[in-house]
Amino acid sequence: MLVIRRKAGESLLIGPDVEVEVIDLSHSRVKLGIRAPRQVLILRKEAKLAADQNVEAWRAVSAEALRSLVSQIRHA
């Protein structure tokens, strides 16, 4: 992983069209501003994790999976 040190007000460029600026810093948080073309999808990673997990959970649902889950809970 590339590690870059930046101060508030400084920015970095990713590829030809994406700029990430450090707007503000506090004790435990950083506020970022992102300039990018409209078609570039920007997601908080945890939102992507939650979305992917929901799809995986939904795809795995079946009568058999439910039976097995209930049985495992009862015997845990």
Partner: protein, 155 residues
């Protein structure tokens, strides 16, 4: 009692007060804004979260406290507003004001997990709900339901 025809489980009966409004939908299912909670005695403590708009969209959930008895979750301010809790009010009490449900994943061939990082949060008074994501909790989106250390050695 109204019924919803579901793909995996056939008809599920529900009471009108089990209908939940999800103003923001769920991540990956943003257009799904109406769900119902269904509990059946044979499958307790599992609670079905069934879309009223899509018969094939069913989730299996467990009360978060069933998965982790000491479960704690702080709802961010913006989500309190989305759920219809008054701004500046006291934090909602689990069990009385708010219900936390963890979506369970049951992958074929591996152990089931529960999403404790992003629980379904239900305002029990207004019946508004949202899946609230807290990356800064100690809980995982793939929390093992049955940690190996708790399995009996002879199973």
């Amino acid at each position: 009692m109204p019924q919803i025809e579901t793909l995996p489980f056939g008809p599920l009966s529900y009471s009108d007060d089990a209908v939940l409004e999800f103003p923001a939908g769920l991540p990956a299912f943003e257009e799904q804004t109406r769900f119902v909670l269904v509990e059946r005695p044979d499958e307790a403590p599992v609670i079905f979260l069934q879309s009223l708009l899509r018969p094939d969209l069913t989730f299996l959930t467990l009360p978060a406290q069933t998965v982790a008895p000491d479960y704690r979750f702080e709802i961010p301010t913006e989500d309190l507003a989305l759920l219809g809790f008054p701004a500046g009010g006291p934090p909602p009490l689990p069990g009385r004001d708010v219900l936390y449900l963890a979506i369970v994943t049951t992958p074929a061939g591996s152990a089931p997990t529960a999403n404790l990082m992003a629980p379904i949060v239900v305002n029990l008074a207004s019946r508004r709900a949202a899946q609230v994501i807290r990356p800064d909790t100690d809980y995982s989106h793939q929390h093992p339901l049955f940690p190996p250390s708790q399995e009996s050695p002879c199973s």
